[in-house]
């Protein structure tokens, strides 16, 4: 267990090439450097097109990286072969934004939560069943619900299934790509509380992608603000909120409706 942070990203660059022979390149990430301590949450904040989701999929190895290094638990993971990276996956998992799209509608909840175990070679059926039951209980889903199909659940419950699916392998790092943005505020609160409680119980490390600064402040120990592929501000959530240095962050803070005028009108 090296003393270094669990996840360290240094000078990450990424560009997409389109057109004939990849002539015109669009640079998405410019020298992104971040790190997340064990059991901590790094909030990655930015508007659409800021590169925050690209950073997440680079960390997960879903998209290739142009240059720069990503070290996970002290080990460089950008140059790994496909099979090496697949083995690594059991210790880093991801939860997606759209509760409807991220679950295969043909699988029951049990099969969805059990699949990661099958993929990573847990042969013994009863052991798998035990793990699944434990994880479902962890996210507040009953045994009875395990036999039903995803379309029978509300958005909030589906996110719980997605979280169970990510936790059943008890990973060290969970990348959360806008996990609550598609949910109503009252349901958002339930899921955010669940994520906080799970982090404390299982000492998970979160890379938390979000466009809402308030959610970032609530959930994160550290916040990085990204704008057009660059990290424009990076510090503890206290510093980013109270001693805001970069004008873009200020603009983001001021843009939140209903905060400037204090309480109500007249």
């Amino acid at each position: 267990m090296s003393t270094e942070d669990l996840l360290v990203i240094e000078n990450l660059n990424k560009s997409y090439s389109t057109g004939f022979g990849g002539r015109n390149k669009t640079q998405i990430l410019h020298d992104v450097s971040l790190s997340v301590g064990r059991g901590q949450t790094l909030g990655l904040v930015g508007e659409s097109g800021s590169g925050k989701s690209t950073t997440a999929s680079c960390v997960m190895g879903l998209t290739a990286v142009d240059s720069g290094s990503i070290r996970f638990d002290g080990r460089e993971i950008t140059g790994l072969s496909k099979s090496e990276r697949r083995a690594l996956r059991s210790s880093m998992q991801m939860v997606f934004q759209d509760p409807n799209g991220s679950l295969d509608p043909r699988f029951t909840v049990r099969e969805l939560v059990e699949e990661p175990l099958i993929i990573h070679g847990h042969k013994d059926r009863s052991e798998r069943a035990l793990k699944v039951a434990k994880t479902l209980d962890l996210v507040g889903l009953t045994e009875k619900q395990a036999e039903r199909y995803p379309h029978a659940f509300s958005g909030g419950q589906r996110q719980r299934i997605a979280i169970a699916r990510a936790l059943v392998l008890n990973p060290q790092l969970v990348v959360l790509d806008e996990p609550v943005s598609a949910l109503d505020v009252s349901i958002q609160a339930q899921v955010l509380n669940l994520l906080a409680q799970l982090q404390d119980e299982l000492s998970l490390t979160y890379l938390f992608i979000v466009h809402d600064l308030a959610v970032a402040k609530l959930m994160s120990h550290q916040i990085a603000v990204m704008h057009r592929g660059k990290v424009v501000e990076y510090g503890t959530s206290q510093e980013v909120f109270e001693q805001t240095s970069h004008p873009y962050t200020k603009a983001l803070l001021d843009a939140v409706p209903g905060t400037k005028q204090g309480v109500g009108h007249a």
Binding site: Q93, S102, D104, I119, Y149, H151
Partner: protein, 292 residues
């Protein structure tokens, strides 16, 4: 609009489409019932209808439809109902064969092209486009000339055209599926690409493939009959609806309509039924898709 409508509609759609197929749609069940009736009738026809399709009987030539010969007799006195049943079997059997061969081959190619992408995809697409330049009938005709006219030549020709057609339509479906989040999430868990292909992509292709098989089945029956009509399909004395229409062609204009009439009607009913079934099934499967 409000999410409430979408979420309520989603809860009604059980995940298993076959269960939805029959329960909710009366016309679909009727068409499906009629079609099964037709196919079963063709298969067990010979046992129910004693007359043989080849028995020439010069004493009752060109008989109009009667109790003895519900579909009348042709210019050599052969019973046309018996020939209709034989002809129908040829068509249905050949149609199924072409639909299945094309589906299996086309789906395999589509899965490979859709998952591997890169040069594999471009080569398969090039291969598909090169073959799909030719109408199915023209291909079958060329093959009939190249080897020997007959049902085999037609089945080869039509399968040659049907597998690229499956490949082209299923490939775009595979591409769409790979863009879905639940595939990326399974990939993020570390699933092997083959597992993703077989456990997640293929099951979602099945409904689309079944619909396309129905379309290819109908089109193949028509093409088989068309080639029979041009004298390139089934050769005499085998009974085949297309060839029977050619035999009845000259009698058509002199009043003996039944010789060419019934086989044509058989074709019309069989193929229209498959199209209606495919059409209704697509509607039930995904009411919003309105796909062609």
């Amino acid at each position: 609009m409000t999410l409430s409508v979408a979420s309520v509609r989603a809860t009604q759609q059980r995940s298993n489409p076959i269960a939805v197929f029959l329960k909710r749609d009366i016309p679909l069940s009727i068409f499906l019932g009629l079609f099964i009736l037709l196919v079963v009738g063709l298969l067990i026809g010979p046992w129910l209808w004693p007359l043989s399709s080849d028995a020439i009987n010069l004493s009752n030539v060109l008989q109009a439809p009667s109790a003895a010969h519900p579909m009348g007799t042709d210019d050599t006195g052969r019973d046309l109902l018996a020939r209709f049943l034989d002809g129908g079997r040829t068509s249905v059997f050949a149609g199924l064969l072409i639909a299945v061969i094309g589906a299996v081959l086309g789906c395999a190619l589509a899965l490979m092209a859709g998952s591997m992408r890169g040069w594999v995809d471009s080569v398969f697409t090039w291969l598909t486009n090169s073959i799909l330049c030719f109408p199915a009938i023209l291909l079958a005709m060329a093959i009939a000339m190249a080897i020997r006219p007959g049902v085999t030549a037609v089945v080869i020709g039509l399968s040659l055209h049907s597998f690229p057609w499956y490949m082209r339509t299923l490939r775009s479906e595979v591409m769409r599926l790979y863009g879905q989040d639940f595939i990326r999430s399974t990939d993020a868990i570390g699933a092997h690409p083959v597992r993703i292909l077989l456990r997640h992509v293929l099951p979602h292709l099945i409904p689309t493939m079944i619909l396309q098989m129905a379309a290819v089945f109908g089109a193949s029956i028509l093409s088989l009959a068309a080639l029979g009509f041009l004298g390139l399909g089934a050769q005499p004395p085998t009974a085949e609806w297309g060839a029977m229409i050619t035999d009845g062609q000259q009698f058509f204009l002199t009043g003996q309509w039944w010789i060419a009439g019934f086989p044509g009607l058989g074709l019309l009913v069989a193929v229209t039924l498959t199209t209606l079934i495919a059409d209704r099934a697509r509607e039930v499967l995904d009411p919003r898709s309105d796909a062609v």
